[in-house]
Symmetry: C2
Subunit: 340 residues, 2 copies
Amino acid sequence: MATLADVARRAGVSTATVSRIINNSPKPVAEALRERVLAAVAELQFVPNANAQQLARADRTAVGVIVHDVSDPYFAEITRGLQRVATDHGRLVIICNSYRDPERELAYVDLLHAHQTAAIVLAGSGYVDAPITARLDGKLRLYQSTGGRVSVIGRHEHAGDAVVPENEPGGYLAGDALYRLGHTAVGVIAGPRHLTTTTDRLAGLRRAAKEHGHRLGAKQVVYADFDRNGGAAAAATLLEQNPGLTAIAALNDSMAVGALACLRERGIDVPGQVSLIGFDDMPISVDVTPPLSTVRLPLEEIGVRAMSLALRDGDREGPLVEHAAAKLVLRGSTAAPPAR
Amino acid sequence: MATLADVARRAGVSTATVSRIINNSPKPVAEALRERVLAAVAELQFVPNANAQQLARADRTAVGVIVHDVSDPYFAEITRGLQRVATDHGRLVIICNSYRDPERELAYVDLLHAHQTAAIVLAGSGYVDAPITARLDGKLRLYQSTGGRVSVIGRHEHAGDAVVPENEPGGYLAGDALYRLGHTAVGVIAGPRHLTTTTDRLAGLRRAAKEHGHRLGAKQVVYADFDRNGGAAAAATLLEQNPGLTAIAALNDSMAVGALACLRERGIDVPGQVSLIGFDDMPISVDVTPPLSTVRLPLEEIGVRAMSLALRDGDREGPLVEHAAAKLVLRGSTAAPPAR
DNA sequence: ACCCCCTAGGTAAGCGCTTTCCCGGCAGGT
DNA sequence: ACCTGCCGGGAAAGCGCTTACCTAGGGGGT
């Protein structure tokens, strides 16, 4: 592998000169030399070693992103926003999938720290477990103390900036919509128990229930894993446990789509017999039949904002917290409960 | 930031010893010392600088992945496979989105090269433009000559290993299915012209047409961009340009879903009046109404294999090329053309 | 009791680059 | 003609780590 020194030797100059030229540093260099060096660079196909550069410069260029799973549409959309901003700033993005495993997330924070990334964006990280949260927070603070920037998507309970999606209000919106339509027997397909996304959205739903004079019993809430098949299975359980069920709220659209499939399979008309509402407003939600009513979260925008926070040259005027509003989107999967 | 030297000083040992301990090198170290050092590491919250480590060790750990767009379900699924294998091997993955822009792709190859990644996996890179392909190939070869491994998903026209999805045969499968059902007026929603994925799939379709005594005229092929809305627009154009159309083949499922929406909007029954077939078998394809007939490609598996190739400690017994078979999946969106 | 060898730990030379400092030479001012 | 000041370029000291090589003891063998 050609090194800077090789180029210097070839061009008959010092390494300092070569370095200045390839980084076009402010220091002026005679045109003739510059050309000779550039020629040598081309001949030797010199590609500077980024590790050495970073070490010598002590600067940080890449930014790390930790998400649950890029292939999940929810995170895919957030990631798209993150990437766009990073690219605009000329930053390399390192994406890490934690697969919702707190330990892996912890390990990735260390890894990104070790690799001297300029910033870490934590997407969808919100664990109910307090010790985990504390450990995560500790690592993030350490990272910050070495000059790294931290930006979190989700609850603001960590060091660093945050953009928080309004999960609780969103849950309320979904519940309120259902109760307003006249439903009284509603079931909930929740996400994984250990995620605050789940608990927050559920809390909103409970608040709506309470406000309308109802409550969500244990049998009315089934926990799943935020993906389609889990949603289908949960819908089946819900139907079984609650004979008079007229509405289902799924805590994300993937599960809602699964539920829809389950309902269709059993010949249950949506929304004629059972209403269904999702959460997130994934691109697919509009393409299923009936199109899914849901609570929209501006996912890509959330990504954009989170990365912007991570990249701001914040002279520490304290962490910034932004909110991303949830919005009710009524489509064809919700209606009044059947008369009887 | 605490450095190795700080830890050494704190523990009253040399940096060599600390290094040996934190890397638990084979060289034996007295238990007392080890503990003292580990204590110092903990107190100082020492996180080794990965750049310095890589520089000193001259080893390569991370692997780079260049895809068109992780948030596109097609690549999301491939990426999932890639990630899984990389993680199993304890490798950090750097994901780069080229957004189908060859120049960006070129730039990323340089970047990953500079960062001393152990391997580069190029997913979905296949450009029709020869100069581009040549430049890409040049860069990849250079990278390889410095010890990097290259694995490509797509046509095998580059240096390195490859897993090639059977795009042409897949296109044939789709076309053959339609013609066998008795369709004669079929329209095609193609992808971007500059991608070989498009040209290959289209070639398969043309071969099927020819074999059945038909041919695809210029008006029967509309180019779009591989995403939903492009598919919808293309379907509209197709309908307009071909009054007697009874079948549409979309070169991927996203566009097929868009086409489906367009058809529904115009009150055209699928498959009663127009049959529709997609490509890829995305997870959503089963959830639209009617469920989409398509040509399945084992995307996640392709990712798994590509990463396995990239990570094999290939003692250069020449590049390996694997094929991934396309398989016809008939669901509800295809039927015989309406009698008249 | 002596020698040898093995072992635990240290010394220091890099890895490939950046950047500070320094130096030689040239032009311009007096 | 001499001095000053400036400018292009080089020497070399790191950046934070790894590792080949070396050294000082201590234990065992005779």
